[in-house]
């Protein structure tokens, strides 16, 4: 219950117009701060749903794969430049963002992550690593402005944000690959 309240507070905080305006005014904070925080708010709120409707999650997401697929679709959708642009221009898309990220990405992520095998988790992380390097390259090297609402420098910054995040993911993968937890735990 406390988790749910924290999640809800975070969700409401992110919805406050000054907060939303501030983070959406900068491309990288829009994508790498607001969106992940929305997912996290959904994860925090999701616990209560899981305990209320265990049957539903058991039935539709018994091995975690449907949930994680939904999560991936939603998240990848929101890394497309066009979708970010639309969220700024169309109110309905903005609302869609605030619904899809917590409820269609956050909640399934929470329900699925623990159900995945170690290999499954690592595959997801590898997919994200590759994708982040790719997006980074795209944003760093395209000479054109990809969004109507953001300048080239915003784009470049976001590109480096993707690359540095991808590097962190690589470090994590190297860590899980080289350090065998059974030696310590």
């Amino acid at each position: 219950m406390t988790q749910f309240i924290y999640g809800l507070l975070l969700y409401i905080f992110l919805m406050l117009p000054p907060v939303a305006d501030l983070v959406e005014s900068i491309m990288i904070t829009h994508m790498h701060m607001q969106m992940p925080l929305l997912v996290i708010s959904g994860m925090l709120m999701g616990g209560i749903l899981k305990s209320r409707f265990p049957r539903f999650f058991e039935k539709w997401n018994s091995n975690g794969i449907p949930g994680i697929t939904l999560f991936m679709i939603i998240v990848i959708y929101w890394t497309i430049p066009r979708t970010m642009d639309e969220a700024l221009t169309l109110q309905s898309v903005e609302i869609w963002k605030f619904i899809s990220l917590p409820f269609l990405a956050g909640i399934p992520l929470r329900d699925s992550w623990k159900k995945l095998s170690e290999a499954g988790k690592n595959i997801i992380i590898i997919i994200f690593t590759i994708k982040y390097f790719g997006m980074g390259a795209l944003y760093i090297w395209t000479p054109d402005q990809l969004c109507n609402n953001y300048l080239l420098i915003d784009q470049l910054t976001l590109g480096w944000g993707f690359v540095t995040t991808a590097i962190c993911l690589v470090i994590y993968l190297v860590y899980t690959y080289t350090v065998d937890p059974s030696e310590y735990e």
């Binding site: 501030l22 420098i153 944000g161 540095t164 995040t165 590097i167 470090i171 350090v179 735990e185």
Partner: protein, 563 residues
């Protein structure tokens, strides 16, 4: 997954350490670090007195040792040398004690690191003495010192890395032999501190190696000043927070034992450490609130990050008073405040760190003032700031270290703290407290009136508005004099306890958790994950401003010798 608590292991460790006593090879390492630290305190304190007397207007410094040489050395000696050597000496003693001795390989690494740091420091000192490096401890470009100065810094950083690697090796070795157990709490703090040390010094290494050295050697013509400052503060901010975290470790782990109580909840203690490690480095931006070239939204978000670090500090304050209250009540303290009287006020091992904690109340409040853009406009680069960090470092951190020295030095030297030495310690604590209160109060006040920091004595042509600062600056001189007396007492105490005090056993006080506490989840031990989270936070915080500073950079600056 929860593992039945580690009381058993600490009991075993305690037993082995009781039988074997302190490991003499390990003790020699820690004693060397502590000796260097207290010599640095003596020298730094002496220079501090010179500065204080100069600013009070009673001492004119000779041309061969001018104010800015002294100030550069004072800053480096105290904030880089003394603090780092104390932290390392203390945590290596802690690792040796709680992990059942250092590995021979780690001992070698520790000595290598020691000599690298000393060598680096010698390289740094030479140009300072020659007045070729009066750039203050922040060495902001475009002020450029003699290249030797920067090479020295590189060796100091390499030394820090050696010691961190040594600590990690020892911790990993212990964990392999104690599968599924939680790292003993002091070693846990040490791990966090060494992780942060590596993270912090990485930034300054990039600044020095890839920006400043090529520039002072003339390989490149100009330097990007904003980037250099940003990299510096990622280091500088984190460094002082590391010294603070070291002090905090003693509050959580040592003080409860000294007063005969239990320590605070193990799980939450570890969470505080992890939170401080993850969120720390990005706080560096609060030193750049007045810097141009960082956009307002970014500054705003970084204020948020800085204040977030305040949260674990508030948890610490709560934790400490809870431990004190419980212990005082257990000893029969009655009523709302009766427990307060039951605390061992006459014991310097408690008194000094207690005053250190109390000093953090005004110090933390001042820190919040400085994090607030509008208020910082008033106090930035004034004596206020100097007053602030003499509270945080000069009281909170250093007095905790002083308190530690009264059991750690005898423990390492197989001697005892005599009642007479304890009394000397109490006197020392009182003098230091009075001196620091006088000095920092007057520094804060003079700063509010506008007196700039890092400025040798001047009356500004007897300009009336600035003459009003003089009484406060005179008080700085008085405080400085008292402080030097306290420094001499403290250094005397340390070397007396190291070489002359009566022989005997002194315990390494480590408190136990309260009986019946719920076990700590194993999650806290996954340092690999915490490090990755820390890196992600750093990436998020730095990518934006750095890209902006690099892409929209001005032409850059050639080196200047402004003195």
């Amino acid at each position: 997954m929860a593992i039945p608590y580690n009381r058993k292991t600490s009991a075993i460790n305690e037993k082995t350490n009781k039988v074997l006593g302190v490991n003499l090879d390990d003790a020699r390492i820690s004693k060397s670090y502590l000796s260097v630290a207290f010599i640095a305190l003596l020298l730094g304190g002496l220079l501090g007195l010179l500065q204080g007397l100069n600013r009070a207007g009673v001492l004119e410094l000779p041309v061969w040792l001018n104010y800015y040489q002294v100030l550069t050395a004072h800053g480096l000696l105290l904030v880089v040398v003394m603090s780092a050597f104390l932290t390392i000496g203390y945590f290596y003693a802690g690792l040796s004690h709680t992990l059942g001795g250092l590995l021979p390989k780690v001992r070698k690494i520790a000595w290598t690191g020691f000599w690298m740091k000393i060598f680096g420091f010698v390289l740094v000192v030479i140009p300072i003495l020659m007045n070729e490096a009066s750039v203050m401890y922040t060495f902001y470009p475009p002020m450029a010192a003699h290249p030797l100065f920067y090479f020295g810094l590189v060796f100091i950083v390499l030394g820090v890395w050696a010691l961190s690697i040594g600590a990690f090796i020892n911790v990993a070795h212990w964990r392999k032999n104690h599968k599924g157990q939680h790292l003993p709490i002091l070693a846990f703090f040490a791990t966090g501190v060494f992780v942060l040390l590596v993270g912090a010094t990485a930034f300054v290494a990039v600044e020095v190696l890839f920006m400043i050295i090529p520039w002072t050697l003339g390989w490149v013509d100009t330097i990007n000043v904003m980037v250099a400052r940003t990299l510096f503060w990622a280091f500088g901010h984190t460094a002082v927070n590391i010294w603070y975290l070291t002090a905090v470790s003693a509050w959580y782990v040592i003080i409860p034992k000294v007063i005969g109580g239990f320590r605070w909840n193990d799980y939450l203690t570890r969470v505080v450490v992890i939170a401080l490690v993850i969120m720390n480095i990005t706080g560096g931006f609060h030193h750049q609130i007045i810097d141009p070239g960082i956009s307002l939204p970014i500054k705003f978000m970084h204020v948020f990050m800085s204040l977030a670090i305040g949260f674990p500090s508030l948890m610490t304050a709560y934790a400490m008073f809870r431990v004190f209250e419980r212990t005082g009540r257990r000893k029969g303290g009655k009523g709302a405040l009766g427990w307060f009287k039951k605390l061992p006020w006459g014991d310097v091992r408690f008194l000094a760190p207690f005053i250190a904690m109390a000093a953090f109340i005004p110090a933390g409040a001042g820190g919040i003032v400085q994090s607030t853009n509008q208020l910082d406009q008033v106090v930035h680069n004034t004596m206020w700031v100097v007053g602030h960090f003499h509270l945080t470092l000069g009281m909170t951190v250093v007095m905790t270290f002083f308190g530690i020295s009264y059991w750690l030095v005898p423990h390492l030297s197989q001697r005892v703290l005599t009642p007479a030495m304890n009394k000397l310690g109490v006197v020392q604590t009182v003098i230091w407290t009075i001196g620091m209160i006088i000095m920092s109060f007057s520094m804060h006040t003079a700063g509010l009136f506008g007196s700039p920091r890092r400025t040798s004595f001047t009356t500004y042509g007897d300009f009336s508005a600035t003459l009003g600062w003089d009484p406060y600056m005179a008080a700085v001189g008085i405080g400085a004099t008292l402080l030097l007396i306290a420094v001499i007492l403290q250094v005397y105490a340390v070397f007396n306890m190291m070489f002359f005090a009566p022989k005997g056993e002194t315990e390494f006080p480590i408190a136990e958790v309260e009986p019946g506490e719920t076990p700590t989840p194993y999650m806290t031990e996954r340092w690999g994950v915490w490090v990755v989270v820390m890196l992600v936070v750093i990436a998020m915080a730095y990518v934006l401003p750095l890209t902006d500073m690099i892409v929209n950079a001005p032409p850059g600056s050639p080196p200047f010798k402004t003195w």
